[in-house]
Symmetry: C3
Subunit: 371 residues, 3 copies
């Protein structure tokens, strides 16, 4: 039977009853953390920096913990999360925890002038909430979203492991996080510009990098691969060659009726989890199928493109990534194998820009403690 | 069991049989109104006007009954609807009843040069049809759609209550209609301009208003809220904070497999109904997650943004809508509690522009009579 | 029960088990063609040409077999397909077989510098693979996709009939293929230009034609119509008037939970199959509901618009297509009634542009032979 924390529908139950049950279940969700949960205390900064997105193109960013994407936060459903945020930039920011219910803690939702006043330059703010929704969540700034989220890299993944995963989740042997976003060359170098509705994006990226700056996703035959797909700053139509994807989760929660796809359409803010049995050795490109998203300012190949490499396939002389320098944690695959915590990744670090709000506190690995 | 007028699938029936049944059921749909149905006679105008969309930005519109959105039409499945339309503008128009099958009445479908000749300035045309499809439908002009629907506010909601709703519909305690559209400042003041495929929209709205001109949706703990989401003139990725939405209906009909979402992707013309248990008191922003849709010509905050306010939460001094003037019918919530009829709303009225086709007949409340 | 070649879920099976079964089933898919399959040998060219898309607007194209859309390829699941491609243009190209698993044949996937080196002007390349995925597939060039696929018409349909169709597929009496794409007037006349992410499309088409150059889809009452909808070069929100569509397949495979729609949202690369019972005689427009997609460079009516005509309805004097010249194979409806093979269509031929790579081999009908 279905075993999500927020039960959906029991198989075989008539539709009307299933829905009634599902809604009733929401009412049972409690606010307080149960006895077996943990409390995680993390420190996060926002830092001004610059990041190379594609060969010859860099953008100024506001970087959570000095990196784009921001650090991976991974906890278990029911855990308490406490994040002390310090704004080391010259403009105001917040963190919105997208997907989290914030049950009983709405003032931690991160929306300026609605749930809190924005965190001013040099100031700190502590968010505290129970991770009461499982699945593929994310966090991002909620100040001036068209620029801060759309163009400045202010986003990162938060994974909340469900107490009772659906069976297929337990079969997964390898995980990867893919966050899709875009960039505007015209305003890339000027903080406080961009995000205008008539602007056009010129670069498109996965985890902040445009092809060929992206990375291979290396697999072996027999892997059961879970991709957590995030449309953070652009709509994407993700296409994986050579395999169908079973779409199992939307916005963190399991679908009652999973479906097969070779292209997954994801609009901004949505997340889809897909599970793929890696049973077809080869070199397989995977990319946004929106045609304007696969070039670097009009130069092909480029954009939101990556390659899935089976370990049994040898490189050809003409293979575009024959001499590629490999970062095995580019999709947070290594971090995702390590359980709960906050995970920075050196490969995502940006070049710091000093300002009078910068301090020497830098980034620090979060501390977890038992409750 | 499922009890829509056009039966979908009986739970537990094998897929193939369900589909066969579903298609067979279509053939049973009759054209004539059954004995217990009503006939509704409504009068509608199209009037030239101007409407403030955002602070400092107004657009010229063609307004059904002098308002944007157009009046709410609410009838029961099987009722006969008769609308006498009078075109008081200086260009030709029609009404297309989006979603209605128009079984046996295709000449009432409102498509110029295909089902009828367009209604010329000063002329009238009477549409008559049976409301044979239930759910969240809408109406809009079908002449020069890129301008008339895309930029001039020629759309309004039509709700047809199903004879046999699914169970969860009966639990709903509060309803709201949200229609998403966009505006182009460059051509806003010139009738007959705009709608070009290379144009870019600069304002984005819910029910014709951009934040902060939108309104709060006020709820109390325990409400079961049904949102009827319409992508009338823009694609939208609707995100509600603090709650998951159960997506129950698409394009008016119940889904066999409802799903949870925190972002609902809706392309132009589509409608999704979502049901939300209001169990998490707070102030929760709700907005289009397409980043370019949350500013007013580049100025933030703005765009397709609203706030859900629980009545138990007191305003903070810094709350952006602390002194907001409240219109309780902005989402047609009050009208939706009143049963069948045609409902104008004073809050949606536009400033009239006189022309030689204007008359003194003005807008009139529709009359309903028993069949 | 469900009878697809790649079994999805048995009805009534708990979700977890269904998913496990589904994934396990993938592992059973073999590479070798079974004894009862056929081998099809086809020859295809790529030719430089020019095509009228809308009245007064032509675009330079690279045309598979000298036509846009490319020829229909129709085979049965398990058949072997062998295509000898000859590039008669002045730039490099490939064919990617979108959706095909290419199990054991990844070097036939058509991605330049990843699975093969691009096919140079004047050169040939033979693709050979087993059609191991059923359903509505397609093929397109994978070199410089933003221009070649986005603007130059390098796409065509491939239908693989499943060994064990779902029941409703057997009820279908009429089929049609609709491929949606866009065009940019600014670069239409210059090979090697266009596809830049900031470019805006000005023309929108179905099967390479913009209204009124599109064609009626003629039906009779009682037809069970299957539309195979392809978003090849633009996102589309396909709306059919007067009927609901049952969405039965996504990306070639049957949905476990089909759903009703009057607007089908399809992002680039996706395919949806819908089945419609033609039970409502009339003249019904069908079109992309994205408002910017229904004009020809801003002139209305135009764009991705067609009309479904019931044979029992007589033309009115004012009907826009009263004197329309009729092409009964514009939606490949005639070809789709002919079984396996490669089907060129004279109505899709483009005006040839001679260059030094052109030869007299021209296009040839593919040959099929028993295995």
């Amino acid at each position: 039977m279905l075993t999500t924390a927020k039960p959906l529908f029991a198989a075989g139950t008539p539709l009307a009853a299933r829905i009634a049950l599902a809604l009733a279940a929401i009412a049972l969700t409690g606010v307080s953390a149960p006895a077996w949960s943990e409390t995680h205390q993390f420190q996060m900064t926002i830092e001004e920096g610059e990041k190379e997105i594609a060969p010859g193109f860099s953008a100024k960013v506001w970087a959570y913990n000095g990196q784009v994407p921001g650090p991976l936060i991974r906890v278990e459903e029911g855990d308490t999360v406490e994040v002390e945020l310090t704004n080391m930039t010259t403009l105001a920011h917040t963190i919105h925890w997208h997907g989290t219910y914030q049950t009983g803690t709405w003032r931690n939702d991160g929306v300026p002038d609605v749930t809190q006043q924005a965190v001013q330059p040099g100031d700190s703010f502590t968010y505290k909430f129970v991770a009461d929704k499982p699945g593929s969540l994310w966090y991002h700034c909620h100040v001036n979203v068209p620029e801060h989220v759309g163009l400045r890299g202010m986003w990162g993944p938060m994974i909340v492991d469900p107490k009772e995963p659906v069976a297929i989740e337990n079969e997964v042997t390898k995980e990867a996080i893919l966050m899709f976003s875009g960039w505007n060359e015209d305003v890339a170098q000027t903080f406080g510009k961009g995000g205008h509705p008539t602007e056009k994006l010129s670069y498109f990226s996965i985890n902040g990098q445009s092809f060929p700056n992206t990375q291979p996703l290396r697999v072996k035959e027999g892997d059961v691969l879970r991709l957590r797909l995030y449309a953070t700053g652009i709509e994407t139509a993700f296409h994986l060659h050579g395999h169908d994807m079973l779409v199992t989760h939307k916005d963190g929660l399991p679908l009652d009726s999973p479906f097969w796809a070779d292209v997954v359409d994801i609009n901004q803010g949505e997340r889809y989890d897909v599970i793929v049995r890696m049973d077809n050795p080869g070199r397989w490109i995977a990319h946004d199928h929106i045609e304007h998203h696969v070039s670097n300012n009009g130069k092909v190949p480029g954009g939101a493109v990556m390659i899935v490499e089976y370990d049994s396939i040898e490189d050809d002389d003409w293979y575009v990534w024959k001499d590629k320098s490999y970062d095995p944690n580019f999709y947070y695959t290594q971090s995702l194998a390590e359980g709960s915590g906050l995970f920075n990744h050196k490969g995502f670090e940006v070049r710091k820009i000093e300002n009078d709000k910068s301090s020497d506190r830098g980034r620090s690995r979060g501390r977890s403690q038992s409750n």
